[in-house]
Symmetry: C2
């Protein structure tokens, strides 16, 4: 898909247009590194934004539906949503307050989310969600049974109308501010995993699997 | 404010009601630890969710308006928004896929955001935003001038209608699953700061200030 197909007036970046990114590859990279999204929808005329997990397969986003239950109870044939994923990479300290910024990568996908109703597609979507968050875990855990599958909902959103915003690199100060007597630079930020905590009822002989011991997103 | 004043039908937690938290103190703790929010608003009937920074003063949230310019251009006398802040604390690996979860703390504030137009309040709000993200920085940087203040917009949202959801602690498995032969536990997640990166045009004699060297949110 070319850039012009994916970018519509409503996904076009309005401010700081130099930060707008519309290519699908960059968008997929951001979506694949993150796993927490914020889903926006409208109920009774008011916007709601709810955090939940997601996974991607090709040009489809699958969203764990628990968080969206408020919305799903109302509309079953496709709900307009905005799914936003933000990865925070750093604080940018410039000489002037005005040029302070953050390094980040964010993606916004707009469209109509539909409920995944087919049992096999739903199971595969849940597997995708699980593997997206922690690869290797699905096969190591007790699989969902029919009752559990019924209690879980999954939404599907086509990645058709989207945009990304990316800011990276150093502070950009006004030329006359470079002489201002202060420190300037970037504080890198990253989501890091600590040492896994064994469950209190775990068989002490059981070892921590690699996917838990060395958890990383990049 | 009592819980019943803050919780309305639309902020009441619909699913997993045991995770709903409505007390103002918990909400403030979450808001004060985070600094990135996702702002939801409606434009042309469609929801939009945009990441931006915020600060809190008493029962008011101040939101950096750059991200909301799309919305602000349309309505000046108060825009219905949902501001959601999510802190991710860990991945919860249960024996069953179904009981996998995340530890997180999130806050949703609903209401009408208004543009801060008074010059002094706007300057103080920008100071608040800056100090909320990195305390001590405001005094060390070149202050905003009139032209910059005009280019910046700040929104104010009363923290009146809100809710929080909190999940912490270990995996909770169905009793019959505790014998399932797999590892279970929690992988703690945290946003961490790396070593500050000096700007390439920095005077080499200048030292990294403490607030950049030891950046923490807790």
């Amino acid at each position: 898909m070319s850039q012009s197909e994916a970018s519509t007036p409503r996904t076009r970046v309005v401010r700081e247009t130099h930060r707008g990114v519309y290519d699908r590859e960059t968008v997929y990279q951001i979506l694949d590194e993150g796993f927490l999204c914020h889903v926006g929808f409208v109920a009774d005329g008011h916007p709601f934004v709810i955090p939940t997990s997601y996974g991607r397969k090709d040009a489809s986003l699958y969203i764990h539906g628990s968080a969206a239950s408020r919305m799903l109870r109302q509309i079953k044939d496709g709900v307009p949503v905005c799914v936003t994923v933000t990865l925070l990479d750093g604080l940018v300290l410039a000489r002037s307050i005005f040029n302070h910024s953050m390094n980040y990568r964010s993606v916004m996908v707009l469209g109509k989310a539909t409920l995944v109703e087919d049992a096999e597609e739903k199971l595969q979507a849940l597997r995708l969600l699980s593997e997206h968050i922690i690869r290797g875990r699905w096969a190591d855990a007790r699989q969902p049974n029919e009752r559990e599958l019924k209690q879980t909902s999954v939404l599907k959103l086509p990645i058709e109308e989207f945009s990304a915003k990316v800011r990276l690199g150093p502070a950009i100060d006004d030329e006359e501010d470079y002489a201002f007597p202060t420190w300037a630079g970037v504080i890198p930020l990253e989501m890091t995993a600590g040492a896994p905590i064994d469950d209190s009822r775990l068989d002490p002989a059981r070892e921590v699997p690699d996917y838990a011991k060395h958890y990383k997103r990049k």
